[in-house]
Symmetry: C2
């Protein structure tokens, strides 16, 4: 087969089914499809005698992850692993990588998206003349998706794959979501359900009047802030991620921080889990280091709860939850993270929690007053810029 130049936005080899539905591609999709086509082309070239079919996948192992002190995000190193078709131990993964690449190509050409579970079902089939399945379970396809992200240097969202959604948003901004203008200042008690794919071709910002973003950990706390119209009084945007924020929420926070220059201020629990959520928002996730440069927000602040708050707010003993062994272990691990290790205020914060012997939830502030958190605690800390960086 002769090598030929493919322009992904024009003619792409595809099944009749996909051709009939081919949509006009935007710039982002064209770019992603070009990367996918380059991958396919390299295999074609190899088949044409240019060498063995192989690819070089940037290593996602922890030993290839480092903390970039200058950019203040987690980065991946340069190490790659080779994946070869004609290697017994790598042939299946090679085939699976090509399947994932072909599945996402099909999604992009049809202008459709699916979940990572959907892609698994889309690509799973019994291999002809064999009893073997292409993928035995989703545990086999998920890492291959991550391989493709690093190999093609694009987020899975750009490959038209969505994750579960969690989290909601209200506040002084309008969002254009697939052409619909959504005024986040008129979203009642429910709010705008933040989708999984928030790339610029799907979501645009309009009419932002907010000065900052307050991101809270839990939807129950978010409801308190929304009910008290905190975002109106303090001219901000209010978000939550139902615990560890999902990719869509992190990416949206990143975009609003970068494009709209909005500071991101986090109100999380005073426990190792709250610290960890902050760490992921700020520096990125260690396991998915390759996404940090497009998701991490190094300027994010940790407003609270703080270990000093038990005394500072005059909380009663009833607000305390004793630390257990796993809390203590986790806290010590987090204190060793490179971005916390040389940060004196953070070292003091974690040390004090360990000395206290207890953790505190944001909800416990209700013991002072139902709206203490929205009317006193948060406004005072914001005014004093009393947060951890």
């Amino acid at each position: 087969m002769a090598k030929k130049k493919t322009n992904p936005s024009e003619s792409v080899e595809s099944t009749p089914k996909t051709r009939k539905r081919a949509v006009k591609l935007n710039e982002k999709d064209t770019r992603t499809l070009e990367a996918l086509n380059r991958l396919a082309q390299s295999v074609i070239n190899a088949a044409n005698g240019a060498g063995e079919p192989e690819m070089y996948i940037p290593s996602r192992s922890l030993s290839n992850v480092w903390f970039d002190e200058k950019k203040r995000i987690i980065q991946m190193g340069d190490r790659t692993t080779t994946r070869q078709l004609f290697n017994l131990s790598q042939a299946k993964a090679f085939m699976q990588t090509m399947l994932v690449a072909s599945g996402t190509s099909e999604l992009i050409r049809q202008g459709k998206t699916t979940s990572i579970r959907g892609l698994y079902y889309l690509m799973k089939h019994t291999i002809e003349h064999a009893k073997e399945e292409t993928f035995n379970d989703q545990g086999e396809s998920d890492p291959i998706i991550e391989d493709c992200e690093v190999l093609l240097e694009c987020l899975r969202e750009e490959m038209h794959l969505y994750a579960q959604t969690r989290g909601a948003m209200v506040g002084m901004i309008q969002i254009v979501d697939k052409g619909d203008t959504i005024d986040c200042a008129r979203m009642g008690s429910g709010g705008y359900a933040v989708p999984s794919i928030v790339e610029p071709d799907v979501i645009q910002f309009k009419n932002c009047k907010a000065d900052f973003i307050l991101h809270v950990e839990k939807d129950t706390v978010w409801q308190r802030f929304n009910e008290d119209k905190f975002w109106k009084k303090h001219n901000c945007i209010l978000t939550h991620g139902s615990g560890q924020p999902p990719r869509g929420m992190r990416r949206l926070l990143y975009r609003m921080n970068k494009e709209l220059k909005l500071p991101v201020i986090c109100l999380l629990d005073n426990d190792p889990w709250g610290y960890y959520i902050y760490s992921v928002i700020k520096q990125g996730s260690i396991n998915l280091a390759f996404e940090s440069k497009r998701m991490a927000i190094p300027s994010a602040k940790f407003l609270g709860l703080r270990s000093k708050d038990f005394e500072a707010c005059g909380l009663s003993k009833s607000a305390r939850i004793n630390l257990n062994d796993s809390d203590r272990k986790r806290a010590k691990q987090i204190a060793e993270y490179p971005w916390f290790k040389n940060n004196k205020p953070w070292q003091q914060e974690i040390k004090l929690m360990l000395e206290n012997g207890f953790k505190l939830e944001v909800e416990s502030l209700i013991s002072k007053d139902i709206s203490y958190v929205t009317e006193i605690y948060t406004p005072q800390r914001l005014a004093a810029k009393d947060w951890l960086d």
Copy 2:
């Protein structure tokens, strides 16, 4: 202290903090507060010599739950248990009941809401001159909240308590949420995040053009339907509950079914968990039988996935997930539920799944085509009214 008539919407004994913030009560809040005041008054009367302070709490035990064949919902029987202040084994629960009642009264008077965890913190304190806490953990306050619901015959949402939120909505309806009009036909890819409290004083319906509601199990499936604008083509409302729908979603479905006469059609997985979700939507939850009459939707339909679909849709072997022991056990339990037991189509459905030896997820239909579920499967089944009742 002489007995005096209290009008909850006028002067209510309260701490200065709550008085300063007292809001004008609406009809629903007045009714709830009256029920709370009657409870308080009964204790005052007892203190004035009218007998021992005690209350009669409808029994929430399974033996007091029955299936109402006529209304086709789970109902509670007439049995009550007595809770007395001057009974060593009941004194703490009595005190806790009064605390929960007093906490919710405070919330209502202030026109605020909180989570059940928030209420726990609000009411938790060290009892004076004792080392004992009013509540040791939330495991003690949650059942007391349920006691108050049955005792006062009101939902926790009417006591201004909210649950976690999950689930989103789009489609041919406008919602007025706390005065904000939300057009669910213009909610982009994210949708309207359904709040926890959806009572008529918070949420009103406007301009409903939908013919029915399609409720799907998972947000990932919901995203597929929303992306394909299924709700526009088929003139409906599209909801999901991220698995077992939370109270807010169930109550909203109930209200749209009852007030707008919209049929509720469910698209869930072909597995015991999918059956169970349907059972709770339709007949109510066994553990919270008292809420059925205000949440259960006896006319709800189960569109799929069905055990026959593996053959009917010509799915490949790759779509199957083998049943495990716990699936089989659960399926047999569900087959014994009174509302399934005498329902021949349901007996066949469950029997066929057991015979198949595998379960099927809605996502697996993608192996036919990315939009098979929205363009072929669901429209065909709807047109043929091919569902289980």
